[in-house]
Amino acid sequence: MLRSLLTVALLALAAPALAEDPVYTLEFKDGGFSPARLEVPLAATVTIRIVNAGSTPVEFESKALHQEKLIKAGADVAVVLTGATAGDYEFFDDFHPGAGKGVIALVQ
């Protein structure tokens, strides 16, 4: 009982800190990815977490963002965008050609 109360109390204290840095996640899985359109609020520094939930390696690539990240199966990587302008930036999986392209939308 005491332990539960303590846990809740700690979580309540930690909540503001946790809420400060929302993580935007893009999940890749063997040629597919979700969401197809990731909307992220614009900030001076934008961090997007790219997760490979599939069994084959993927390469997150966006020519517009000048990003190329190799992600092995089960791994994840953080992409940091600095001083970006609002807009739609296309991305795709270079290791799964023909799997279509998605969009990272930086919105004001």
């Binding site: 084959t56 390469e59 000048h66 190799l70 791994a75 001083g83 807009g87 296309e90 023909g98 392209k101």
Partner: protein
């Protein structure tokens, strides 16, 4: 899946194949055996480096700082671009007298510098895409349990790549030399433009230059996200939606080529 493996492996290896294939054809033509030794030494070193690099990524996984990886890639690409341009300029000037100069030890300092330049270029060309290819293949093979289908596709991809290489050697041997040299020279310069544009693009991923929206959209002409378009983009530096950094890279690169070619022409005319 076969099509995927075929395309990806071919695409990853084509850049290195063009560089090594063209250099080999140029050096064979001028019977520069020593230079070819440096070339293949570089290839071997590149294969070892690719193996080490891919193992390194395997061991450390995401603990490798992404900024470190970006910086490393940027340095590799810009160095490779510089080496290609130096090689082209050198062949334009010394091509015909290459054998004589190397054998007589003439301009030894310059020659030795160029020989190590050939070694370094081969090393970088193989190592860059080699590490990615190793990781891609490892991943695919692990996921498909080393299926016969996957192995066959890999073999086929390397055969096609080897075919491209063989084609270059045949061209060097049987085509009119001036024509072959001009065409391959342009191919290498376009490759260097791609490396330079890509390398400069890392200024953005490193956070040194802000992300900017594209200045124009030429996807109607050639979409660089299509299969064919992405290969063209990789081999020439073409971008359907270039941002300011890309445009500046293009201007700096081709401006630099124009100026250095002109300077060389003037120097040769004066000699």
């Amino acid at each position: 899946m076969i099509a995927q493996i075929l395309f990806v492996v071919w695409r990853e290896s084509i850049e290195a194949l063009l560089v090594i294939g063209i250099l080999q054809a140029w050096l064979v033509r001028h019977a520069a055996a020593t230079a070819r030794a440096y070339l293949w030494g570089g290839v071997l070193a590149g294969l070892v480096a690719a193996a080490v690099l891919s193992a390194g990524i395997s061991a450390v996984d995401t603990a490798l700082p992404p900024r470190g990886q970006d910086l490393f890639q940027m340095i590799l690409m810009l160095t490779a671009a510089l080496l290609v341009v130096q090689m082209v300029l050198w062949m334009r000037r010394h091509g015909r007298s290459l054998k004589r100069e190397l054998e007589a030890g003439l301009s030894a300092e310059l020659a030795r510098g160029r020989l190590w330049g050939i070694f370094a270029l081969a090393l970088i060309a193989v190592m860059r895409e080699g590490a990615e290819t190793v990781i891609f293949l490892q991943g695919i093979l692990a996921a498909t349990g080393w299926s016969g289908e996957a192995l066959l596709a890999i073999l086929a991809a390397f055969s096609v790549a080897a075919g491209s290489y063989a084609l270059l050697q045949l061209g060097g041997r049987h085509l009119n030399w001036r024509l072959f040299f001009r065409v391959t020279e342009v191919m290498l310069l376009l490759l260097a433009a791609a490396l330079f544009t890509n390398g400069m693009g890392h200024l953005v991923s490193l956070g040194l230059v802000p992300v900017e929206p594209p200045v124009w959209d030429s996807s109607a002409l050639l979409d660089d996200t299509s299969l064919f378009g992405s290969v063209v983009a990789g081999l020439t530096g073409y971008r359907a939606t270039p941002d300011p950094v890309t445009l500046v890279s293009w201007a700096v690169f081709w401006g630099g080529i124009f100026l250095s070619f002109r300077a060389q022409r003037l120097a040769l005319a004066r000699a």
